[in-house]
Every structure is written in structure tokens, then in C-alpha cells.
Symmetry: C2
Subunit: 146 residues, 2 copies
DNA sequence: ATGAGTGCAAAGGCTTTGCATTAGG
DNA sequence: CCTAATGCAAAGCCTTTGCACTCAT
């Protein structure tokens, strides 16, 4: 699956009339290698050939194409990661000290139970679920020690 | 409990060396009556006697005092609500159409199970949990119909 | 009187947008 | 060729900050 990541991404982009340019290829690559949510400033740092506006625009395109997902935290910066459809469903450990976001997963039985409950709640409210997000806010190992 | 809300808020404010001014009293009142997360622009609208900067500052003070909580969504605006310690633990239905945030709760057994699983995960990662947030992103009844 | 609170205006800072140029199909 | 993509700079916009004034203790 990770092997054909490029093929999959290309398909999703084409599906909405966009090209898989080298800049976008590099972005996807950065996110894949990071393995965890990344801020745009981090992407730009050490990559002077990437124009800031293009990175913002490309991530927006990739988001509408369903390739990446934007994560909002209390941090001043937005974080981006590969869409769950290309990886797997997971959750986040958000450190309020350094702003770092780390991926984590829930035991599948808990997740399943949770999902059932959420669907019931949504149905009652006439709410159409796109997805859910479950984040832990606290202090990472490093910041907790400091 | 809601009757002594003011007393409780006043205590929390004093505890960190702040006063329960009339402006802050009004803010708490607005949030209490709203019963759901509110944006600052909404608070300002129709209340010309409130200065924008004071609202921002007071909500920040109230947040550090543990009276209100700031909620971040994809919406351009931050949302504020009374802290769970003054209400009850709950979750959010976030509409990606109109940006409205609505409160909801989970069956207590599901919540308990979830909490256990989260604590285990956090422990494994050396992560110290402050709190968790579970939100449903999708379309509210109105936006789903449109 | 002394420090917190307030209000107005200006500055900050992440993000978006305009526009001319380049590249891919 | 024709449209998407890119890059630079400038603008947007929510939020924060500076500073002088007011208020409560």
C-alpha cells in the first residue's frame, strides 16, 4: 500500500483536475517520511527551493483531494499529515508545552464501541458525520520532565 | 450548582489574583446562557459597550483561571465555553458548513471505557494527560439539508 | 495610593491572494 | 497552445500588545 502511495495520490489529484507536480510529490514525501503531523514552517525550513505560498496552496489542494489532512491545535501553526485513507485511523497526543503532535491508536474494540456510540449520537441530532477526532492534550515525556 | 456559579467563578479568579469585574461577569453570563461554544465576534455583536480587546483579554484570564475553555476548530474564529468543571464533561458536533459547535455527551459506560484505554495509551508514551477532546466533524441538520 | 481592569488604536503573525511567469500534457 | 502551477510580494484577518485612563480596595 505504501508502495503505490504515489499512484494513489496521483489518481486522487487527477480526479479533481490537478497535477501531481514535483512540488506536491515532495510534500507528500515529507509527510510520509515524517510519520507524524508536521507544521508548514518545518517543511519550509531547510528547503529554500519551496515557495511558502506554493506550500500553503499545495497543501490546500492536497487536502481537498483527500490526500492530506489539516490538524488544528492551540499551536499558532497548522499541522498536516497524510489522510487516514492512505495510512490508518489514529489519534493524537498534543503537547501543550512544545506543540508537538504524535500519532497513536486505540484498541480496535474500544474504537468500534466508540464509533457505534458516536453514530447513535449523531443520528439523534440529525448530524451527518464526516469523521471524528479524538485527541489527548497534555505534556509529552520531554515537557513533562522539564 | 448553577446557582453558585458566580461564587465559584469569583473564587477561581481570586485564587490567581484577579477580580470578578462586571465585564467578566457579563462574559460568564453570556457563555452560561448560550449553553454552547460561542465565538468572540458573536459576543461583541450587539454589545457595543464591550471592548474587543477586553473581551479577548478577559477570556484569556478566565481560561487560565479554569473558568472557560477555548475551543479550536477549522473555523477562523476561536470558540469559548464554560469549563467542564463548571458544567459536565462533553463533546462537540462541529459543522464544517456553518462552523457552529454544539455540545453532546457520550453514554457513561462508553466514556469510562474510552478513558481507561486513553490512560493506558498515555502511560505507554510517557504522556501526561491534561484532558481529552472528542469531536465529530460533519454537517449539522441545516447544512446537511441545504 | 496602588495595582488590576478598560478602551482605543496600532502592531503581530500565520495565512491567503494578485499577478506575471513558467511548465506540463 | 492552454490551463495548471509557481514565486514573489502585498494584502487579509483574527488576535495580541502598548499605553494612558479609570476603578476598586
Amino acid at each position: 500500500m505504501t508502495a503505490d502511495l504515489d499512484t494513489l495520490v496521483a489518481a486522487r489529484l487527477e480526479a479533481c483536475g490537478h497535477r501531481f507536480s514535483s512540488a506536491r510529490r515532495e510534500l507528500v514525501d515529507v509527510l510520509r517520511r515524517a510519520g507524524q503531523p508536521v507544521r508548514i514552517t518545518d517543511v519550509l525550513e531547510g528547503r529554500p527551493h519551496l515557495a511558502q505560498s506554493s506550500v500553503y496552496r499545495n497543501l490546500a489542494v492536497l487536502e481537498t483531494a483527500g490526500v492530506v489532512r489539516r490538524i488544528v491545535t492551540d499551536d499558532d501553526y497548522a499541522h498536516y499529515e497524510l489522510d487516514e485513507a492512505l495510512t490508518e485511523h489514529h489519534h493524537h497526543l498534543i503537547c501543550s508545552g512544545c506543540g508537538t503532535v504524535t500519532d497513536t491508536t486505540l484498541p480496535s474494540d474500544v474504537e468500534r464501541r466508540l464509533d457505534d456510540a458516536l453514530h447513535e449520537i449523531a443520528a439523534d441530532a440529525g448530524f451527518v458525520i464526516d469523521h471524528h477526532r479524538l485527541d489527548l492534550i497534555g505534556r509529552c515525556r520531554v515537557c513533562a520532565a522539564g
